[in-house]
Subunit: 129 residues, 2 copies
Amino acid sequence: MALKYSRQRESIKANLMHRTDHPTADMVYDDIRKIYPNISLGTVYRNLGLLSALGEITRLATLTGADRYDGNTRPHSHFVCRKCGCVYDLPNDIPGEIMETVQKGTAHRIEECSLMFYGTCEDCREEGS
Amino acid sequence: MALKYSRQRESIKANLMHRTDHPTADMVYDDIRKIYPNISLGTVYRNLGLLSALGEITRLATLTGADRYDGNTRPHSHFVCRKCGCVYDLPNDIPGEIMETVQKGTAHRIEECSLMFYGTCEDCREEGS
DNA sequence: TTAATAATAGTAACCATTTCTGATATCTAT
DNA sequence: ATAGATATCAGAAATGGTTACTATTATTAA
């Protein structure tokens, strides 16, 4: 099943590359519809799954609702606000270091990692509470 | 809404404390049914949610299917096998250290973290592939 | 022991995601 | 260019995990 070009997939990937808000599939869908009004949500899901299987994007599992997608595949960790649900990048080099450290202490073969931090984001703090 | 004792909740918590396989809600359900044959799956979910809100257990989000629950609330990280889906503890002190480090580099208030490592577990490696 | 109310079982609803189907687009070899 | 071969699509239906609802039962405090 050789891969074939599709303008929908191209558009989905481009959309992810141009944003840093780690959207859900639904958020990508809303955006892509402006260009391809009758693209289907299933197509968005299928291509997000395909792209992450290819390693061109990253899928993030969170404790708060739907999966998120990240067009930035360089190892980095994420912050999820418990209040507004926003997902932010945490610019640091932790994943590489920590994977080495952890690999030394286990017999399982570690291939990737997901470092998620939860709390209250800057904006929500300022709004009080 | 003061908390009231319930033998179902007690049993669910005890079940989690006695196992280290980080079961899904369904796996807990299967076990508890041996004691309370007509407990409902909804009750299991409700109590797992309640217990984790109380901080008595931990909920884990993974990229591979259903959420997992952990009766061990001491900070530690986890390993998920991509092949068999098993979830293992990674005995180390990383969470505390890493949270401090990361907190220094961000304005968001970090309250907790989830460190998930993915790969192939020891058993699956031995079976080849 | 009774009254107040939290928790339950069972079921239905909900949401995110995947699967299915016939039609369409892309690609390969003429 | 054309004609298969087949990957991808849109749309809809199905699935899986989880939550919400309701009438009944269990726990608790007076």
